[in-house]
Amino acid sequence: MSAVGNSVARKDGIGKATGAARYADDITFPGMLHGRTIRSTIPCGRIRSVRLDFDTTGFTVVDHRDVPARNAVDLIAQDQPFLVEQEIRHMAEPILLLAHENRERLYAVPVEVEYDEGEPLFDPEKSQQVFKTIDIVKGDTSSALADAELVVEGTYRTGHQEHVYIEPNGVIAVPEDGGIAIYGSVQCPFYVIKALRCLLGDAHPNVRVIQTETGGGFGGKEEYPSMIAGHAVMLALKSGRPVKIIYDRAEDMVATTKRHPAIVRHRTGVTRAGRIVAMDVDVLMDGGAYVTLSPTVLSRGCIHAAGPYRCDNVHIHGRTVFTNTPPNGAFRGFGAPQTEFAVEVHIDRIAEALGMDAVELRRRNALRPGDTTATGQTLRDDCSALMVLEEAVRRTDFDRKREEYKGSNRSVGLSLFYHGAGFTGAGERNLKSKARLELTAGGVRIAVGSTEIGQGTRTMHAQIVTDALGIPYEDVEVAQPDTSRVADSGPTVASRTCMVVGKILEECAHEMRDRLGGLSPAEYHSRHGPLTVERMYEPPDWIEWDDALYRGDAYATYGWGCDVAEVELDPDTFEVRPIRLTAVQEFGRPIHPALARGQIEGGTAQGLGYALLERVVMHNGAMANGQLTNYTIPTTLDTPEIDVVMMENPYPGGPFGAKGLGELPMDGPAPAVVNALRQLGFDVREIPATPELLSAGSRLG
């Protein structure tokens, strides 16, 4: 029986089920101190003074003057300090670090910070400080709009979203012989290495990062762990002792990243027959107080902003701007959930303006193989927009239900979406990701930096190697990511861990199979000793991308999805209960059907929370409801039955035909729900569509 395509036992299953798996806060080291972060309590201003009104014996105190080399978190820009020197740009910004062996004593001591307060800027539409601008231009949009038989306009807004990984952020920095080790709950161990090299400079060459068992990430542990690791390292270097920093839920929610709020404006020209002839899209994303990853989030958001539709004249203008709020960051979907929400709600409004069925409008305009996207990419045979649309409509009996529910408190709504897999444009070529296979006495070991964060990396990689090498699944082990011992396979982001890293591993396995020359790993090992195979990723040679013009093959392939949400409204309370969600998704081929289903169910539930429940309340630039009691994610009772349909349309460049899956399910639920609400008479243009919003909003005639 092949491993690929079957739901084999998870490599991390027993450890997690028995409680043997050790997370960052489970780990202690002799002489370990606990670290605490003193944070700003204003959103904008300058520090006048910092006073430690206590006996500091036994405490390690670190401020910006203790930075060994550069006080900058090395991401796209180097504008964000590890510790504020003078200027405060957002609430909960790190100012000072304390460490002490007793956690209670550590948190009991008072630190007084005096400020000269500035005038904060919270409205992204008023911000003059632009982090990044993107223009995607295809054809002549303004003439096409002028000539269009009908132009439909609309503005759509999406809010912050908090990741709510089950394990908050945490790391431990441990001085060791000739260097320092960082253990932590991280998605991207090599990002932490990069950030620490910048912080520490050449004086500390021996830094390694070890990923501990990680309780979820969703993008929230992509860039922020670099900040926490830097803090722990500075405390450890100054004290000479291991230092653990674990955020509690409140600190994690108020201080770390969230999904970028967005405002998306559409002007779309159509013919009376329902052909889209011009799309003018303006995307504004609130980046928060520092650049962090905002330019790349904007990039993915803009590339997906025209939706999965063919159109000869497209202009997408995007910008991400500064505000005095904590920096927004990576979150499953990475800008696309915002823009795909906008375009999919807009499509239903266009259909309404045309007096046309919204499914029919999508059918006429959906991308087909041979069509070109907004960036001018010609789609290949692995484009499945029509296939998922037709299957979702058929399976849900969509047309009949839409008629049948008219005039009742029930309705159905649909969304069609896609998601590019892997890094954008030349990103994968520039990354030069590597993977390594090592022969062991009884099999092989996978040695990559890709992290298991609950999504099944270890299992899925082991399945690919199992079948590519032709050995039992049990003989494949997966090394814990330790940057001193594994290949840098790139970050665990962007739906690339299966499609890209899995592909390198498949090639490693093929090479190893050839080198084994018909011997089993055990036979080879006993006769010839160790053998290591390492290979680098080669993106498809046809990919062409112009980063200056934003033209070309944005992604090697795309996953495609169509969600149908069936909802019921309580007319007294404006509560919307999802009754059933049908998620038809095509992502090449599922390597592990149960894990793939889990990704779709989880992403769909997260998308439903984004649509209806998850509202970050900001007061004076800080999250005011940073508690799980008041920032409400869906419980099982808020999550309907999810009918998962996995369709296959292999991508030749992926392992066993697989594309990326992790983010795709996040893109569809919100527009499907809001399109269902439209059928109930609610003209919703923003999410979350809370009962408060619905009760206050205007009703359609």
Binding site: E251, N625, T632, P691, E692
Partner: protein, 272 residues
Amino acid sequence: MRTAISELDLRSASSLTEALAILRDEARTPIAGATDVYVALNFGTLKPKRFLDIWALDELRSISLSGDTLVIGSLTTYTSLIQSPIVGERLPMLVEASRLVGGVQIQNRGTIGGNVANASPAGDALPVLAAADAVIVVRSDAGERRVPITQFYTGYRATVMTPDELIVAVEIAPVEGKQWFRKVGTRAAQAISKVVVAGVRAPMPRIAFGSIAPTVVRVPETERALGDGATIDDAEGVLAREIAPIDDIRSTAEYRRRVSMNLLRRFWAETG
């Protein structure tokens, strides 16, 4: 950041007499299920440092009839209320409310006395007790007194209790008329109420709301209007003038007002 545990001082009592003696001599906050205490402790907002654990006082756990009056011991958990045939028969709206408090773990630990003592405007059992004209029985070393729940709260999280008193029981005389309950939370389960309402459809209806005022409230003018035969449209208008909800991080004043009016109408329709 979490409240420092080592600074907390906990005593426990094994009988009511002992508990009242301790409360006579020392200022201590009684705790039973501790479900609200832990929330504050986790957020570092827990003000009291000295506690008296009364969880072991089984004598406060009974559900019984005294004559015609239902007497619920203050340590009765939500789970016990849900399972009690006598509560189900006489006060079904309390069973409904209990089912919607937290999750099963909270229902196993949370007590009706704790819900009353915690004095949260969002306490889910409180509108039921208010609509049922419950009487809170409090006892100290010096004696016992009975306070109607409508006179029990003096303001936001404030009650008439003195520090030496303990809630020992809740008494409910027979409730004539159909009972009705509805909680509107921030999601389908494990939610804090945005509006919570209990109603009794008697010749003079009794209606109580939570989460729309600093304390649980009855709406006497609305009750009187309905009792005097006003139309539901008119009664809605009276209610709109009678309540003054506020905006907070969970909801808005406008939503609370509108939903309160809608639920009044629903109560009236479903119990008519």
